[in-house]
């Protein structure tokens, strides 16, 4: 029945048979269902069934006709000649494959180029990165070195002043001893002392002018204290001298 349905489905296609179907017996229907198995070596039909089918086909003209047609159909199909090749298709196919090959290679090449460019970009980026790192180190060094230098200078100055103060105390103490024993103003001694101190001050000045305002200001204050101390000691000497005189 399925076949009949298929037939109707393709009824617009070329038809080769316009015969009226005869009425089948149940045996006929069974035979037609199994008929192809007789012609199909792979069907695995049992010998008993085959004998039964053959017996019906031999007795029924309608089934015999169907069987003959099916057998002829298979024979016709199997004997359809192998068509000859109009040309050797390996030639155009080889040509097409060769044409495809360079295209494929160019694709590969462009991909390789992309990879190369990406690598180059990576190298440039890493170079830039290291350059930036170096730059930041230089910048930090530029900040740290003057700071260290200033610290060093400040330390030197502090140490220098400490030493000067110490020397001054010793000097004034010594001069006080000298003056107290001399019983007169030791002009030469005081002059020498003053010249020494002023020269130290003068030697100090350029350094302090070049340094930061705080350091310079601190230095000046210290110098003023030192100068005041010198004046104080001179005045003290005078008063001692007067009380003695």
């Amino acid at each position: 029945m399925e076949n009949r349905h298929e037939h109707e489905r393709h009824s617009n296609l070329p038809q080769y048979s316009h015969e009226a179907k005869p009425v089948f017996s149940e045996q006929c229907l069974k035979t037609r269902e199994k008929m192809e198995d007789l012609l199909e070596p792979e069907s695995g039909i049992s010998q008993q069934v085959a004998i039964g089918l053959n017996a019906h086909i031999a007795a029924c003209s309608s089934c015999a006709q169907e069987y003959r047609r099916m057998r002829n159909l298979i024979l016709h199909l199997e004997q359809l000649p192998l068509v000859e090749l109009p040309t050797d298709y390996s030639i155009p196919v080889s040509r097409k494959l060769r044409e495809m090959q360079p295209a494929a290679e160019t694709e590969k090449e462009s991909q390789a180029k992309l990879v190369k460019a990406a690598r180059r970009a990576e190298v440039i980026q890493s170079q830039q990165q290291s350059k930036q790192n170096l730059e930041s180190v230089v910048q930090a060094t530029k900040k740290i070195v003057p700071l260290l230098f200033l610290c060093f200078m400040a330390l030197c100055m502090a140490a220098g002043r400490q030493y000067i103060l110490l020397s001054l105390k010793q000097g004034t103490a010594a001069s006080a001893n000298v003056t107290s024993s001399m019983q007169s103003i030791p002009i030469a001694g005081l002059g020498t002392w003053l010249i020494a101190h002023i020269s130290i001050l003068l030697l100090h000045a350029p350094e302090e002018l070049l340094s930061t305002p705080t350091v310079m200001f601190g230095g000046l204050i210290l110098d003023i204290i030192l100068f005041s101390a010198a004046v104080f000691w001179v005045l003290r000497y005078k008063s001692i001298n007067n009380s003695l005189g």
């Binding site: 057998r71 002829n72 390996s90 494959l97």
Partner: protein, 194 residues
């Protein structure tokens, strides 16, 4: 001793293009015949044969060396045939009858009858058979062509079409029944003209 298909495939994959020429020369006739019986048109069969070998070349790396190369080619060719038939149908550019008219059976057949009248009758039947095959639904057509024109077993067809053997058997049964109905009395003549 003839070099095996798998050796030729290996050589092709290692860059020897002449090995692929050998494979093409070996199997192009079978692929062309399958395409011609499926499409019923020489020109389309030629195009499809070329497409099959181009497609096979691009997918050669995926070919399993222990498999049959011709079975693998048939698989590619049958897929291309179905695509071709479906696209042709959806385009609806050509009527099926016209296509069948275009695909004339070549006169290279070798009917066994000596009588000229019987010979022409056999030839006419062959043409009618080919035409009728080309009108079958594509699944039935593939099964019938592979089974009866290429002598493949049901198992091989099932392998090529990636379908269960039962389905292939059903397609064969229905395909043959359709052909028998369509050819009718023409099948009263056997190929040897009796």
């Amino acid at each position: 001793m003839e070099i095996t298909d798998s050796d030729l495939v290996r050589q092709t994959l290692s860059g020897q293009t002449t090995s692929y020429d050998c494979l093409m020369k070996r199997y192009q006739k079978q692929v062309y015949n399958l395409a011609y019986r499926m499409l019923g048109n020489f020109e389309d069969a030629g195009d499809l044969t070329q497409d099959t070998f181009i497609r096979a070349y691009s997918a050669l790396a995926s070919f399993r060396q222990d498999a049959s190369f011709i079975t693998w080619l048939y698989k590619i060719a049958s897929n291309l045939c179905i695509d071709h038939i479906r696209s042709r149908r959806s385009r609806g550019a050509l009527s099926l009858d016209k296509e069948i008219e275009e695909g004339r059976e070549p006169s290279s057949g070798t009917p066994r009858s000596s009588e000229p009248e019987a010979l022409s009758l056999v030839h006419a039947t062959q043409e009618a058979v080919q035409k009728a095959v080309t009108t079958l639904p594509e699944d039935y057509r593939l099964a019938v062509v592979m089974r009866h024109l290429h002598g493949m077993s049901v198992e091989e067809i099932a392998n090529v079409l990636d379908k269960p053997q039962g389905t292939v058997k059903t397609h064969l049964f229905r395909g043959r029944a359709l052909l028998k109905d369509r050819l009718g009395a023409l099948l009263d003549i056997s190929p040897d003209g009796k």
